[in-house]
Symmetry: C2
């Protein structure tokens, strides 16, 4: 009777009672942040912060003081701290002894390192997936490829920065191709590495996509995978990653745009 949903009500009653809080959150996170019922505040804070860090809304190196985050996101100190600890486990946030949290720095050497690991995992997942994939898997690739094509077209038309929509389609497309690899652990690891790379991708102001035809790259990959040509698919994937990487290397040292 006097009992409201845990996740919604306390959020609003955290100090201010009007809609300004939601406005702030929407500004910070992009979407209205509709918390799934049963979701904990700590997890909601985790999701919002994670999304903001990956998309670059929270700049690399930025100090994440609890009071500041409290003002921005409207969560209390406890959920925020728990969220930050989780993000630290993801390597998205740096935690120093008694000196608080900060957004993990972007570093070119780190990115090369990351790319090595990602390529290894992606190759393995791709080969397994090609060996094991069934009809439903193929259909999933076709569907994701279709949406990817639309986003690629929209992107090259506007010549603008990468959008959230494009990112989502990209993630779905690449995930679809490795989905049948048969190891949830491999997919988990892969997803983590993918998210890390997404951060670098989106942080780079100078995305010289002009010289790339992403649509063609994606089409070629899907084709190779559907043709079960593992060697070609791995080769295309590696080149795909490398092209993104090299466009970042040519940009000025990342992480200085705080």
């Amino acid at each position: 009777m006097k009992r409201n949903r845990q996740v919604a009500a306390p959020r609003l009653s955290t100090g201010q009672g009007d809609a300004d809080v939601n406005g702030l959150q929407a500004m910070a996170s992009g979407q209205p942040a509709q918390p799934d019922i049963g979701e904990t505040l700590a997890r909601a804070a985790y999701r919002e912060l994670r999304a903001d860090i990956i998309k670059g809304a929270r700049a690399p190196g930025e100090r994440l003081r609890i009071e500041k985050l409290k003002a921005i996101y409207g969560f209390g100190p406890t959920p925020l701290r728990e969220a930050l600890q989780m993000l630290a486990a993801d390597q998205l946030v740096l935690v120093e002894g008694n000196r608080g949290f900060s957004v993990a720095q972007l570093d070119l050497d780190e990115f090369k390192d990351l790319n090595v690991a990602r390529t290894v995992v992606e190759h393995a997942a791709l080969r397994l997936s090609i060996a094991k994939g069934d009809d439903a898997w193929e259909a999933g690739i076709v569907a994701a490829g279709y949406l990817m094509g639309k986003e690629d077209a929209a992107l090259s038309a506007t010549a603008d920065r990468v959008t959230d929509r494009w990112e989502a389609a990209n993630t779905a497309f690449h995930t679809a191709m490795v989905a049948a690899c048969g190891s949830r652990w491999l997919l988990n690891v892969r997803a983590g590495l993918h998210d890390q790379c997404a951060r670098y991708r989106r942080a780079s102001v100078y995305q010289k996509r002009g010289e790339r035809d992403l649509g063609a790259e994606h089409r070629a990959m899907a084709e190779a995978v559907l043709a079960r040509d593992a060697d070609l698919a791995c080769d295309l994937t590696e080149r795909h990653f490398a092209l993104t990487a090299s466009s970042l290397f040519e940009a000025p040292p990342a992480g200085r745009n705080a």
Copy 2:
């Protein structure tokens, strides 16, 4: 003056003032748990819980109620919750909406899955390491192999359960071989998968080591790696993992020994 080390003093003043708490902790974690200075209680709790879960002191599936953990480890609710969230990120702990935490269950299918991912990552790291390793790397393998040999001998002499010492030597030995792979990310991922597997290894009551000569397996691996024979090294590693796995498969369903 009135200021003590953060990590030690509050621990003892958490309710009881006598040494019983330490006794409990020592019982639970195996060692006196000497917290590094500057370490946070949350991180100390994380380390202790993590070690206990991996070594099986906290049984798979066991519910981790805050009050219970408070009594066992002597930490307050906040550090404990933060530690549990970190462990959940590591997939060592399962967290359910508003229903608390529990030790992740052990499951044979899950272990097969895990082994796929681990083998992939280990192979890649091994190949890279063999390609790039220098003299210091070789020396590290020789040193770790020497200690490993001692522990293997001690183990086969007592025919007893795997000890903490053996586990530590095993971890160090395998880590030494991949240490030169050149990607910290790959090593991080690898370490996480290794720890997960260690859990399965130690949980299995029926470790039919009798038929295995671990010392010989380890020596052969070190030899192949030092000879820079990547194919052989990968092959031996895969077989090494597979043997451990098969000895678990023959045991009754794991995780029922709570």
